[in-house]
Amino acid sequence: MFSHALIVARKEIRDHLRDTRSLVSSAFYALMGPLVVGMVSIAVHGAVHGEKSSAVLLSMASVFALVATFVAGMNVAMDAIAGERERRSLLPLLMNPLLRRDVVLGKWLAISLFAVAGVVINLAGFAIVVGLPFHLLIAVTLALIPLVLFASAVELLISTWSRNIKEAHTYLSLVIFLPMVIGMFFGILSAHGFDVALATRGRSAIADRSADQRRAIFAGFNTGAEHDHHSLRGARLAGQRKTFASR
């Protein structure tokens, strides 16, 4: 039923794996976060990682990770529809007997896969720089997948609206502000902030669950936050939530 979508996705992936420039620039974006956080960490603490990494650095890391979910698939998204239109290959593609749904699904899948790859590279970088434990790396990656799917869908939509790559690039570079805003918001609201939110919202089961879920995403970065006991609890929570996120 979705065989056409898979054909489209496979072609997009093969096509983009050959686009060395785009791969290099995406990898550069993905590794920029760990690089910056690592350098700031050295500047502040004189050491790259360990117990001393402050909450500010970790919230910085969370912003970079969120940005990575949006940036990593962006080149693919730009090329997926706006690029095809500019290259005049969209019309021949749509002349084939296939549903437009399959074209969109295939391209969405391809963009998401590249975005996940970018996130993994990004988090692996943080794992080295900040000392994120391996199980947290997996938990955070899994927890970011819904966001990756959302980001890819938004990018694909913008690519469809745009008439050419240049236009798509203009709009997509504005979209990067979205994760920045989210990232800063959640970065400030670290594990501590969620506790406050929980207290004010009452202990309803839903609130508990959604807050815990978000904590699983972001508390991963708070392993070394200012209050040691706090961060440890955050890490333990995130560890427990790993099973939840992978379900």
Partner: protein
């Protein structure tokens, strides 16, 4: 067999096609001849179904392949991979696909460029790849928009040979062109398009006889002039 009845299409203020009808029989090459902006490309697009006509209808009895002015290849894929992608989307079984691709590639004499990425292709090579893509699923009807564009002399000859061969096998071929010579050499049936209408159709000799002119060029000028004067008075 392709039949178009009273096609109309408007883009904003421009009435690209106004009341255009023609029929293209099987086993013949039908040429749409017209000056720039006469509505040839719009007509072909409506026939192959990528544009919805405002009015009128198209009847096609068998699968159609089309090479429109959108040649668009994927520059990072080789010619063979470009063809394979479209073949898979067309639903050609994988076992037959590579065989069919080899067949088409040899028909168009492009074995030597088959495994090169299309990003480095010349215009003619792109054209050939796009043509290969259009005939990959062995359609019974073929639409070609300005097929000679960018091809070198041997390729044009090869293309003509190929089109004649396809015609003799019973295919219905419709091609648009503004080049008289091409139409005269290749087409059995000509429809002259002017300002979104078919002003005359028939064999090239037929058209000359009817307009009492020596050459297809004179016939073309005479027929389109009449139509333009008509439109101007309306």
């Amino acid at each position: 067999m392709i039949q178009a009845h009273n096609l109309q299409k408007r883009f904003g203020a421009v009435q690209a096609v106004r009341d255009l009808s023609f029929s293209a029989p099987d086993g013949k090459i039908t040429g749409l001849l017209g000056s720039n902006g006469a509505g040839k490309t719009t007509t072909l697009r409506m026939i192959c179904g990528v544009l919805q006509p405002d009015h009128g209808s198209v009847r096609i009895d068998k699968p159609v392949g089309a090479l429109l002015d959108h040649i668009g290849l994927y520059p990072r894929l080789t010619a063979r991979e470009n063809l394979a992608y479209f073949g898979e989307l067309r639903g050609i079984p994988r076992a037959q696909l590579s065989q069919r691709i080899d067949q088409v590639l040899s028909e168009l004499g492009m074995e030597h460029i088959a495994d090169r990425r299309t990003g480095g292709f010349s215009q003619g090579e792109c054209m050939k790849t796009a043509l290969a893509r259009a005939i990959l699923h062995s359609p019974q009807n073929l639409l070609l928009d300005e097929p000679g564009n960018g091809l070198d002399v041997p390729s044009v000859r090869a293309l003509r040979g190929l089109l004649r061969q396809m015609r003799d096998s019973g295919m219905c071929i419709v091609l648009s062109s503004h080049i008289l010579e091409e139409i005269r050499i290749l087409c059995d049936h000509v429809a002259i398009v002017s300002a979104g209408r078919v002003v005359a159709q028939g064999s090239p000799e037929d058209l000359c006889r009817r307009t009492e002119t020596e050459s297809l060029e004179d016939a073309f000028i005479k027929l389109t002039q009449e139509n333009l004067e008509c439109s101007a008075t309306l």
